[in-house]
């Protein structure tokens, strides 16, 4: 752990102790233990991962995870510490390292009714989009490869002034936090031109009325390109919510599709999302979204990308460089291969006490490949919940969703200890 991160964690522990001396603090905690098993069905004739020699994807995986949180709240101080510990055993691939980290650890001090400062490991996420988060410079692509994996925060200091209809937030990032290891993939869609966030200053201006909210986000580090993002949401009626998100920045890298040459950072490009939701009388909600990602390939570029991969696959047995080329194709490709996506979600009410379910369909409108996902959570007792997650991909081997996996299944149990 780096010195600055250590200081922040000490600070986040020290402040609540000071607060305890000043005013009574309500302490509470949660502890959840999970055990889950996953199985993947690989694409047998993959162009990017022939014979699974490049990606070395596992066939199955068993994992155990503990998620614990302690928090304290008083009139002027809050603190939160959330820790994750994961142990994993895989079949068909090398075991990933066991991992333990603090996903959030911060203290918040309220100076007066309107001003608060926070310091520590903060989860800087926002925006109404479900499919991706174009208005976020750090977490555009968060959690899309491992959707049940929890996000980790970034080590930063933040000050918020909350007016009646407006608020302003200033953030300074001191350290990357736990952005590597199992969390690394969450930051590969960074729109700051890098995954090294140290030294970034972020300004967020928010406005809100009785039935709308919008926000402008600016993030900059030294001589790097300025990230500009914005989002807005409008509660059109009791049941209808309309929203939009947009961002303009650069990614850590761009892989030229016809030569696999890397440009780092990528040129500036725009991303945008339009969406809406309708809530039925029974609390179920249907979402529809359209996403444009200017960092992705158009259909011709995507064809070129797979054509190079096809050549490399043919030469794999005779040419050692071909494996490196395929590795580059997998590791450095845009986080979204295409440019235009449509998505629909249908889910039960998040407050449902016994059974929660969600179905999600996503289509790459450029190559017409599709993905269907379903998540079900069934509460068995007060402390025990079963959950299952099913993914099925549809598409040819030279399309985004058809390139690597046919599908996956995950079954697990959560036990709420505290």
């Amino acid at each position: 752990m780096k010195t600055s991160a250590r200081c922040l964690l000490i600070l986040s522990l020290l402040l609540p102790m000071l607060a305890l001396a000043e005013s009574p603090m309500n302490l509470s905690g949660t502890l959840e233990v999970r055990a889950q098993g996953s199985s993947w069905q690989k694409q047998t004739d993959s162009l990017l991962n022939p014979g699974n020699v490049i990606a070395r994807l596992p066939t199955s995986q068993l994992s155990a995870e503990a998620r614990g949180q302690i928090q304290g709240r008083s009139e002027q101080f809050d603190f939160t510490m959330r820790g994750i510990a994961i142990g994993q055993r895989t079949e068909g691939a090398p075991n990933p390292r066991d991992d333990a980290y603090l996903s959030q650890a911060f203290a918040r001090l309220r100076f007066d009714s309107r001003t608060s400062i926070s310091a520590g490991r903060l989860l800087l996420t926002w925006g109404p989009g479900q499919l991706r988060s174009p208005s976020n410079p750090f977490y555009f692509d968060a959690g899309k490869t491992q959707p049940l994996r929890e996000l980790s925060g970034i080590d930063a200091g933040s000050m918020i002034y909350s007016g009646d209809d407006t608020s302003v937030q200033v953030v300074r990032v001191f350290s990357n936090g736990h952005t590597g290891g199992s969390q690394g993939e969450n930051f590969s869609g960074s729109q700051t031109g890098s995954t090294d966030f140290r030294g970034i200053t972020l300004l967020k201006f928010n406005g809100q009325g009785s039935n709308w909210q919008n926000s402008l986000v600016l993030a900059k580090k030294d001589a790097d390109l300025l990230f500009v993002g914005a989002y807005g949401q409008w509660t059109a009626s009791d049941a209808i919510l309309l929203y939009a998100e947009a961002g303009s920045g650069s990614r850590p890298q761009f892989l030229l599709p016809d030569s696999y040459r890397l440009i780092a950072p990528s040129p500036r490009a725009a991303t945008a999302l339009l969406g809406g939701s309708y809530t039925l009388e029974n609390g179920q909600t249907v979402y529809g979204e359209f996403l444009y990602d200017g960092h992705g390939y158009n259909r011709d570029e995507e064809r070129a990308y797979f054509a190079v991969a096809r050549q490399a696959t043919i030469q794999l047995a005779s040419n050692a460089a071909a494996a490196a080329q395929l590795g580059q194709a997998l590791g450095a490709a845009p986080v979204l291969l295409g440019r235009r996506y449509v998505s629909a979600i249908w889910q039960s009410s998040p407050q449902e006490s016994k059974l929660f379910w969600q179905g999600m369909w996503t289509a790459n409108a450029d190559d017409h490949s599709q993905q269907v996902r379903a998540y079900v959570e069934r509460n068995l007792t007060r402390r025990v919940t079963l959950f299952g997650y099913l993914t099925r991909n549809f598409g040819e081997r030279d399309t985004e969703f058809g390139a690597l996996l046919k599908g996956s299944v995950l079954l697990g149990v959560k036990i709420f200890m505290l």
Partner: protein, 247 residues
Amino acid sequence: MKFIKLWIALVLGLTLTQVSRAEPNVQALLAASDRARAGGLPGLVWDVRATNTGSSVIDNEPSVLRLKAADNASLAEYLEPLRSKGSRILQVGRNMWFTKPGLRKPVAISPRQRLTGQAAIGDIAATNYAHDYKAKYLSEESFNGEPCYVLDLTSARDNTTYDRITYWITVRRHVGIHAEFFSVSGKRLKQADFVYDNKISVQGTAIPFISKMTITDALTDAETVLEYSEIKIEAVHRSEFDIANLQ
């Protein structure tokens, strides 16, 4: 000083009663009934226990929420059951967000989302009918043996939970004891009965305060009982209702 306050309260009470016998000053009556449901107070922190019953209920484990409210904003945090502990719903006007520990980011939700069972956030947060609805006097009738003014409330703002409410306010105590809630089309959605066994002090005067609300669905046998406790009248920091502080 105490005598003056008592005298003002008596005169005010008598005035309201006398006026109402003919035709009550409906806005003053509504404002008085709102105070017993936390309306017009500088801020409020309370715990709400919600229990759901009915043939469609497959899990009748109660939920306990801690609610902070001020002006047009409220923040509800689940304390029970264990699996929901730490989940929060923030409402500012008609803007609403839901989050829980481990969730990637707060999710924007529509006002139609319910907190639990039949209860919407508008049922649990402070009531400001005098501000949010235009009231019309309908009649005087007895409800559960207690003489009541019956008012017809029509939504005057776009942030109300219901489009129209018929509201029974007692003649003697000036508290709402029964309400029927309607949609724009005039369809009755649900009804609620209120009990006021709590007491709070407002400017040194003890007033009755809501202790229980029973919400019954108009079309099914579903019922949600909300019990209010640990009531504290205190200002809540504006920054607590900032979405950026929700995580």
